[in-house]
């Protein structure tokens, strides 16, 4: 089996968010970058587990500049076999999806695994867009993936609860919690990652369909109003008369 796992670079979850250039760019100075958690914990690890039990390889791909290489190395250390970096600054989901689809086309991957969303852009858009470019089914918010014969059996979250579906032929999937458990790279993996192939391929020049005018930080909270533990009716009154939420 050959899997393509799409990996995005993301700021560590505890990062203080600040902007530069007139609030038009995220200030990356001093920011620790990680593999987007859904891509790493769920998509990548599940692909590795399947290859470990059934043979094959896992290729990881990221759309980004050279600053993505460390996170690709980290994914290689966890166990991916080969890395590909599509050399373009990621502007929006549409552009990223077009670039990934262009790369994946005709490569014969059995499945393309993504995370359910990036923790910086939070758009949950790349997998479906990629699937449409490739004319493949997209199974969003998948919580498990197994193979039964030539059929992939996937459970996914829907508005009604969890549903089980079967797909024959290649597909795109976005992985949510439940798919696999986090793996910590060990020393051997880290050493091995250094000599694994990391190929840089030119972008095809897909354009973005959106642009960010500026960023803004949310308004500061006025500060907490403390209510005496013996007087919960006061809280009820405030929620009703002041906050007007009940």
């Amino acid at each position: 089996m050959e899997f393509l796992v799409c990996i995005s670079k993301a700021p560590d979850t505890t990062t203080r968010i600040a902007f530069t250039e007139g609030d038009t760019r995220f200030n990356e100075e001093g920011v620790q970058f990680i593999v987007n958690p859904y891509d790493e914990w769920y998509a990548l690890v599940r692909a590795l587990e399947l290859v470990e039990s059934q043979g094959g390889k896992v290729v990881i791909a990221s759309v980004g500049g050279a600053d993505c290489d460390p996170i690709l190395r980290k994914a290689l250390a966890i166990g991916a076999h080969e890395a590909v970096r599509i050399d373009a600054h990621p502007e929006d989901a549409g552009q990223v999806a077009a670039e990934l689809a262009h790369y994946a086309k005709d490569k014969g991957f059995d499945a393309i695994l993504c995370g359910k969303e990036t923790i910086d852009h939070n758009s949950s858009a790349v997998p479906a867009m990629m699937a449409e470019h490739l004319d493949m089914p997209c199974i969003a918010l998948a919580t498990s993936l197994n193979y039964e014969g030539d059929q992939a059996v996937v459970t996914r979250e829907t508005a009604n609860g969890v549903e089980k579906v079967g797909v024959k032929g290649p597909f795109v999937l976005s992985a949510a919690k439940g798919m696999a458990e986090q793996r910590i790279p060990n020393m051997r993996g880290i050493m091995a990652a250094r000599s694994k192939p990391l190929q840089v391929v030119p972008a095809q020049g897909a354009s973005a369909g959106t642009t960010i005018d500026r960023f803004a930080l949310p308004e500061e909270k006025a500060g907490v109003k403390l209510i005496d533990a013996d007087n919960p009716s006061e809280l009820v009154r405030l929620l009703r008369e002041e906050a007007k939420v009940i």
């Binding site: 923790i119 009604n160 959106t210 949310p218």
Partner: protein, 307 residues
Amino acid sequence: MKCIAFIQTKGGQATKASLEAAGLGASMGETVAVVSGDIEGDAGLGAVGVGRILQGPGHLDDSQLARLVSAAADQEEAQVVVCAQDHLGKAVAGRVAVRLNAGLVAGITSVPSGDVYTRNVFSGKAMAHVKGTTDKLVVTTTPNAIGMPEPTGASASVSAFAPELGQSKVEVLEEAKPDTGNRAPLPEAELVVSAGRGLKGPENWGIVEDLADSLGATTACSRPVSDIGWRPHHEHVGQTGITIRPNLYIAIGISGAIQHLAGVNSSKVIVVINKDPEAPFFKAADYGIVGDAFEVVPKLTEAFKAL
């Protein structure tokens, strides 16, 4: 400007998240709704400003729905397609954008001016003001962010719509059992009562359920609580769980770690109940009670019941 609104229905009626999306469309221009399968009357769409409904066949997958919606956009020569950023909306919107060669602005929270949309980024720690750069645009709305428009009293006309939709490549092996609870699903809920490790064990959730019942709220939990199996996974909110933005979020025995806040910090009002006055959650709260959950929560339930 002309809009297509892709509508999801439940029991023949448009979901609240879909009505919000349609209402936004109607505030921007003439809006034609697209539905799949049976609806009751006009599914509540006339009241939010939709004039016409194109009704496609039922039981379609995301790829077929995308064909249905883009065919409608082509037929109506619409510039904007709107839908809710929910499970199905996420799956369909991206495909529609690719089919229409349109930009996609996902999960918007407001429209501050004509062509600028705001959306949350960095897990709610910041906001981006986004514009489309293409002739057509697909916009998805975060549930409970835009709000419902004033009802118009009008109704929408329904006509059958049957473009070429292709075959589904996905076979449903086991359908989800529709949830029987009468509580609103978390992403759409207006009132949420949530608890964390401070509750000590699953046997203590009765007081949380009672509080939720007294308000008609949906229950949620922190991640460790669902990880150890005290509560079902679908209740887990936060960076790795569900993102919610209710009008009221009551957090009981939750410390307020940044990854938890990432999923709830867009709530309009946050109430924190924690026995530790130094708990970080108080910094993100509007109202707080410092006290033992086992004493405070039952009293609060009584106070809500007394309303």
